[in-house]
Subunit: 236 residues, 2 copies
DNA sequence: TATTATAATTGTACCGGTCTAATTTATCAA
DNA sequence: TTGATAAATTAGACCGGTACAATTATAATA
């Protein structure tokens, strides 16, 4: 692992272990430099990483402070790896409904940037949290990239398999979010009524080289799903 | 404006003007260094900014490429400034329903990190896009920070007033997203039926020094609202 | 032609430095 | 005590460099 990532992890761990609260100050740059025995730019990179993750915020002339939101139990958008409950002690499981190789619809072909004759893996799953239906998911994988899938892989973390097993490097993703009413099929899978609200999320995942490999449609149970995300204004 | 921000803007404009498509390659670092006559680290910072904005992605050993999602008409989450339609040619208006100074509820006090006796500005608005009700909004401003508001200010962009008029520097924000059913009042403001889906977003905006100054609750019309956001996996 | 080894290209990590701008603390004056 | 002023602190901008890793292009080999 790289130095700045290492340092970021250690700092995050430090904050966790010492139960630092929002607004608590971290050591100043110079002492961090001394402590980790690296140059300023390396510390800066580590802190930038943590800032983007929403762990700290930096104030010029003042210091580095802990940023921490109060509410627990929210799913973090932006943590890219499909699913990951913010809270600890969660219990996520999956049931695979369908898994096969097929040809893409036009919609899928467009999102995966492939031709109509290319093969794709189709995966249909229901996701559970603490045994309750959280989401209904349909995923489409470009088979020329994700060359092999089976039921075991698909009921675990596919992303882990993709990076560890296949040696692919996941890059960025585009996500589209809607709210709508549940149709009959979705309502059944989620144990709700037709017409009830749903949160609908479409994601296109890309490798680091920009190739899209996964197009996924997620329909969330509105009763179970609360999301959290952070924004930093210095985008502009 | 800082050099790296300037460069980021120019590059973004360049991509726009030349209608570069997804995957198109930008000049290599060295030629950008020469073109803008700055050091490598400055170019790198500019590109990192653009990468975080989702404008480009960089591939080591290969080059810098345009990243561009296809769908138009989505509201970008993460662009912090309350509202801002992704698409151009939008037409956003507001109607102010209420505006007064009052004491905070416990919920508001907690989110703004103030005592129960502090004063807050309360603003209740309906937001329209192309004349159609897009969202119903309640905002709570810490009056000791946002010292003055009136109907004119509140019907325009408050964020603009806060930064330009009051000279405050907006930093980061925490956002909490839910889906639920509309209650009677919300349904009326949005021209929908009670029980229809709603997208509910709570935001806490902070100054660069970490002070929360704005707690806002937004109820979106599910028919009008589609959101877009991007994620970069190298958070980890 | 296809495959493999080699070299060139290109972005990233990291160093160590100077200067600047925002903030905080200390100092002085009213 | 208050308020203005100066000094010290601290993060950020920017430079120019070396070394490295991933990718791509080229050459060598079968």
């Amino acid at each position: 692992m790289l130095k700045y990532q290492e340092i970021a992890h250690e700092l995050e761990k430090y904050i966790e272990d010492h139960k630092l609260q929002q607004g608590d100050k971290l050591p100043v740059l110079e002492s961090l430099m001394a402590q980790f025995n690296v140059s300023k730019s390396t510390i800066t990179k580590a802190l930038d990483l943590l800032e983007r993750k929403g762990v700290v915020f930096q104030v010029r002339g003042s210091g580095i402070f802990v940023r921490r939101h109060k509410r627990k139990g929210y799913i973090s958008l932006l943590s890219n790896q499909g699913f990951q409950k913010e809270i600890e002690g969660f219990n996520l499981t999956s049931k695979v409904i369908e898994l096969d190789v097929r040809k893409p619809t036009q919609e899928v072909a467009e999102n995966l940037n492939i031709g109509p004759d290319a093969d794709i893996y189709y995966v249909k799953r229901v996701r559970y949290i603490h045994g309750q239906a959280l989401a209904f998911e349909e995923s489409f994988y470009n088979k020329s990239i994700v060359t092999y899938l089976n039921k075991e892989i698909v009921s675990e973390s596919i992303f882990n398999y993709i990076s560890e097993g296949l040696g692919l490097k996941v890059g960025f993703s585009d996500m589209y979010l809607h709210v709508d009413k549940l149709n009959e099929e979705e309502a059944e899978y989620l144990g709700l009524k037709k017409g009830d609200p749903k949160l609908y999320l479409e994601s296109v995942y890309h490798l680091t080289n920009g190739q899209p490999f996964d197009f996924s449609k997620l329909t969330y149970n509105y009763e179970q799903s609360q999301f959290f995300f952070q924004s930093n204004s210095h985008f502009f």
